[in-house]
Symmetry: C2
Amino acid sequence: MADSGRRIYLASRPEGMPTEDNLVLESMPIPSPGDGEMLLETVYLSLDPYMRGRMSAERSYAQPVAIGQTMVGGTVSRVLESRLDGYAAGDYVLSFNGWQTHALSDGTGVRKLDPAQAPLSTALGVMGMPGFTAYVGLLDLGKPQPGETVVVSAASGAVGQVVGQLGKLKGCRVVGVAGSEDKCRYVTEELGFDACVNHRDEALPQALAAACPDGVDIYYENVGGKVLDAVTPLLNEFGRMPVCGTIAHYNDTAPPSGPDRLAGFMRAVLTRKLTVRGFIQSDHLERMPDFLKDMSGWLKDGRIRYKEDIVDGLDNAVKAFQGLLQGENRGKLLVRVVPDPTRGNA
Amino acid sequence: MADSGRRIYLASRPEGMPTEDNLVLESMPIPSPGDGEMLLETVYLSLDPYMRGRMSAERSYAQPVAIGQTMVGGTVSRVLESRLDGYAAGDYVLSFNGWQTHALSDGTGVRKLDPAQAPLSTALGVMGMPGFTAYVGLLDLGKPQPGETVVVSAASGAVGQVVGQLGKLKGCRVVGVAGSEDKCRYVTEELGFDACVNHRDEALPQALAAACPDGVDIYYENVGGKVLDAVTPLLNEFGRMPVCGTIAHYNDTAPPSGPDRLAGFMRAVLTRKLTVRGFIQSDHLERMPDFLKDMSGWLKDGRIRYKEDIVDGLDNAVKAFQGLLQGENRGKLLVRVVPDPTRGNA
């Protein structure tokens, strides 16, 4: 092969924040497809918080990535060469090729994309795993009722921005928690959240209480830490807490120092009869057809909007992922590995 | 009136363990029933962990007991004099007269008891609130499936003993956690639990893990503290945790010292997709007819057994309640305020 591909593999398990010592970029040969295979080129690589869990040896949703293995991740890819029925060079697919420029596929777990229907990148965001995570977590687990108050943390992120807009669609008061005034402005002014509180504000508990005069019926949990501490006292009887992530703790190398908040949390669960439920979207795939139908409709009629934060070049992936864990992204974070010819690159 | 009644009222809010400075016994006049009222004499007073919450000013299920108010509680009472249709002197009723010898009632919230059907005291235990708490929490919230593993803390207590036996009825492996070898022997040898672990054993985590070779599908939570810490790592994917109580913390005057276990707990909730749900039986009263029918059948055919710990005399109530919070009772704790003529007093 003339061109060399590139990949980022897990060279060692991070202690705390992952670095380029843990996630190493190297060149690799571009493979040739055998019979029943196709060669895919990554256009977009999705960067998502769950990836931090895969880098650790600890028990998580799924098997950890092995040392030496290419880091996993969802991708939008272009078919370069196909020896697989149903796929032709130039097709676009949603796949799970990970942090690399090229990969072979036999079609397993791959879905063809139509760039005329929606921008390709949305298959990794609002129309993909993050949007589906918001949909299942808020609608099926949170069960929002008109007039209820929904709080969502990481409100401007890939999941949070959809959660809040779905809450508004269901007639709820929606309060976001985000990490800057700029993000808060975005979700209130552009996405229609009723209020948003900056979690870097020292008066977070007071500000959140003021934004939730009727308490909180649903807390869509993405972060943990001090946001969870601020929301817990506000939860109403029969409050629901779909637990989607605890990003504030993903880089923890030891349990946070005391006091121990667990007893107080369990007391709140008990006396206010809360339901706290962890979930992952892949356990709810029977809802995917409903999601795709609903979400494409909401996108077309403008009832759901979204924001993407696109970083160019696989060599910037590690830095972008570090930023994600620190809340530096603005909307759904993607690496554009090669230009997307189906749309402008702005 | 010739005789004087007695009551125990909340004189001050306890810091930590309640004492006789907080719960003061005094004599009182015995009231006379007006038209549409009856005079009740307390035969049995139920002592239950939830009462500790009512002594505090903090938000709990219900309003705190006011300073000066008679301490609340479920009672089995005898009608001494009735000017209320449908009730006659000599009848027995389930009522909520609190820590006192006598009370007037207009019949609200009162249910007549037939001592020929079941011992009167069971209306406060296996056939009453604790039994119903076990029934709703395990069956409706825990949803036990044959072959699953159920762990229940405070296993020999009024609720725990029923939870474990219901788990066995549903075909589960049942593991108790209790505070002595004696209690453990009772639940395994007399109630049919598969295993029981002593939480005062330093090797509690190891012992519990050994008793649950297939992990834990349902943890019926009555205590919190180190038992919760020992169970959490064992919970299987999609595990359920009905939260009925956190008695290990009821006397806490400040949050326990660190490290902070909340982040680790939420990580378990997330990655193992646990459902943690607080509840109180009174939100589920629509299930009471099913419970009474099922439980009376199970008692009659010997599939559910129970143990009571009966203390004589209202003047021993405070000491008995202290013992309850320290796990000194053996089975459902009751104060026999006056002799029960419908059965021997052994």
